[in-house]
Amino acid sequence: MNKIRASIKEFTHALLQINRTEAARILNRCYKSENDFCQLEQIIRESLDHIGTGWEKGIFSLAQVYMSGVICEQLVDSYLPQAAVGPKTAPKIAIGVLEDYHSLGKRIVSSVLRAAGYELLDFGSGLSPEKIVTKTIEHQVDLLLISTLMLPSALKVAEVKQKLQHAGEKIKIIVGGAPFRLDPQLGQRVGADAAGSTAFDAVSLIEKVYKT
């Protein structure tokens, strides 16, 4: 157990330095000695989680969060077979960017969720409320994650909620992105079921919202 703790520490350090060669070397070494994909998954997940929590506390930067995600995605692709860890298929989750064309928040949330073992549908960016509602119903989604960067787009979540209700759907909505982070009451005011201030909140919020 101490060995894996040490690897997580070392791997986290390499990610924070944005050193992909070193990160790859550490994972490769762990895989060679243990031959265990689950352990690699744990190293990646816990390291990313640590970095995300650090961002929330103002210790690490968004660039470190994003670039660690980029490095881990590349590593996952090259070191792990696609289905090394069976993804969680329930609840059925989708993510999309409402109105805006800025997909970085969505990308970070998606990689965090995938690292936590969730499978999720990507509806893309620049979606109108009609479009996101149609897609949500069409794909029989249980939980809809919405990311926005601009305030007018964030305010349109109210329209999404209303349209889903009119269609008789009880799909839960979790929102996030800069406007929600900088105004913690905004999520509630637009009728979201929950609002996350960091990508890492997505994991706990999914568990919380889906249970209720």
């Binding site: 994003y66 670039m67 007018p152």
Partner: protein, 350 residues
């Protein structure tokens, strides 16, 4: 004896010089808000310099604040480079697809010349017309994106971060080009009549880029660029946290620091006074749902903690008042400044 009322210009320069003016200067950064004032769409509003000039003067009188703001929208620099701008109702225009599609294009990238560029000339015309109307009574604020932050719009933030960490060579080439453009753009605005330049640079915030990387990458570019801008500058982190880089920013020679609602008021005063004037830090997003009492309390809090000794310009923390903020809140902010912001400050005022 009651001190005479200062002009906005005197008020601001006194605060900049770390002295107490007649009252705390107030900058309401009203950009697209002018379209609301004029009752027209954002797109139509920015299509003609006259609209912006009329609205700026009307809003200056209505809200009794201390600057004229020549900012259109960040995406205008991208529009000037041939990029697309996407308009929305009741919100700022945004960039469409990134103008630099691949890092291999950076080497041959040609950035526009300011004085022959149709988009940028519109802004220069606004500044010239405002200057002709107000002379030296009211400060006119011009705006540029820093070379380091503009790249987020040129490439998209994700691709840009990958360039920054994995391709320093192309990063440096892009920064050299952006810096030349930024200096020319800022100086053209100063020559047109702007009194100071607001240099937007949220990527300098440790919220976005960790300090160590910033100091090795964007920081030298900022120092070089700012040193060649021929007028006072405000380094504005556009609501990104500033505290960990405050000392570095003071060393760039910027006269003003735009700070965040996430920065602690006591600490920021302590770390900046008397070396740089603070600009901020009302939370523009929360302002949307404040009542007038909350507006007053927020103004009072900042003035009480940061106002003593001068060196404070009260403003929102992002450099743009959202369309959704009700007019009555802006009026309440302005009234609160007249009430609580008179020097010498009296923390016991009801």
């Amino acid at each position: 004896m009651k001190a005479r009322t200062m002009t906005s210009f005197e008020r601001v320069t006194t605060a900049l010089n770390q002295r107490e003016p007649d009252q705390v200067p107030l900058f309401l950064f009203l950009s697209l808000y002018g379209a609301k004032e004029m009752g027209m769409s954002v797109q139509k509003y920015f299509s003609q310099p006259d609209h912006v000039v009329t609205a700026q003067l009307k809003m200056k009188a209505k809200y009794r604040h201390d600057c004229l703001y020549a900012f259109f929208y960040a995406a205008i620099e991208i529009e000037a480079m041939g990029g697309e701008v996407v308009y929305t109702d009741c919100g700022p225009p945004n960039t469409g697809q990134p103008v630099i599609k691949s890092s291999s294009k950076i080497k041959t990238l040609d950035l526009p010349r300011v004085r022959t560029n149709r988009c940028l000339i519109r802004v220069l015309e606004v500044i010239q017309q405002l200057k002709a109307k107000v002379g030296t009574g009211d400060p006119i604020i011009g705006v540029v994106m820093s070379p380091f932050s503009l790249a987020a719009l040129q490439l998209g933030l994700g691709k840009y971060l990958e360039l920054l960490y994995f391709d320093r060579h192309s990063f440096r080439t892009l920064m050299q080009k952006n810096s030349v453009f930024c200096i020319e753009w800022a100086n053209a605005q100063l020559e047109a009549g702007a009194d100071a330049i607001c240099y937007f640079n949220p990527l300098a915030s440790p919220d976005l880029i960790e300090r160590k990387t910033y100091l090795n990458t964007g920081y030298p570019i900022d120092k070089l660029t700012l040193s060649q801008i021929n007028g006072p500058t405000a380094m504005h982190l556009a609501s990104g946290m500033t505290l960990p880089v405050v000392k570095d920013i003071i060393d760039t020679g910027a006269a003003v620091l735009g700070f965040s609602s996430q920065d602690d008021l006591d600490q920021i005063k302590q770390e900046t006074y008397p070396n740089i004037c603070l600009l901020g830090n009302l939370n523009g997003l929360e302002m949307v749902h404040w009542n007038t009492d909350q507006a007053r309390q927020q103004v009072r809090l900042i003035i009480d903690k940061v106002g003593p000794g001068g060196s404070l310009i009260l403003a929102d923390n992002h450099g743009e008042i959202p369309w959704q903020v009700p007019e009555k809140i802006l009026l309440a902010i302005s009234e609160a400044v007249q009430h609580y912001g008179r020097y010498p400050l009296d923390g016991n005022k009801k």
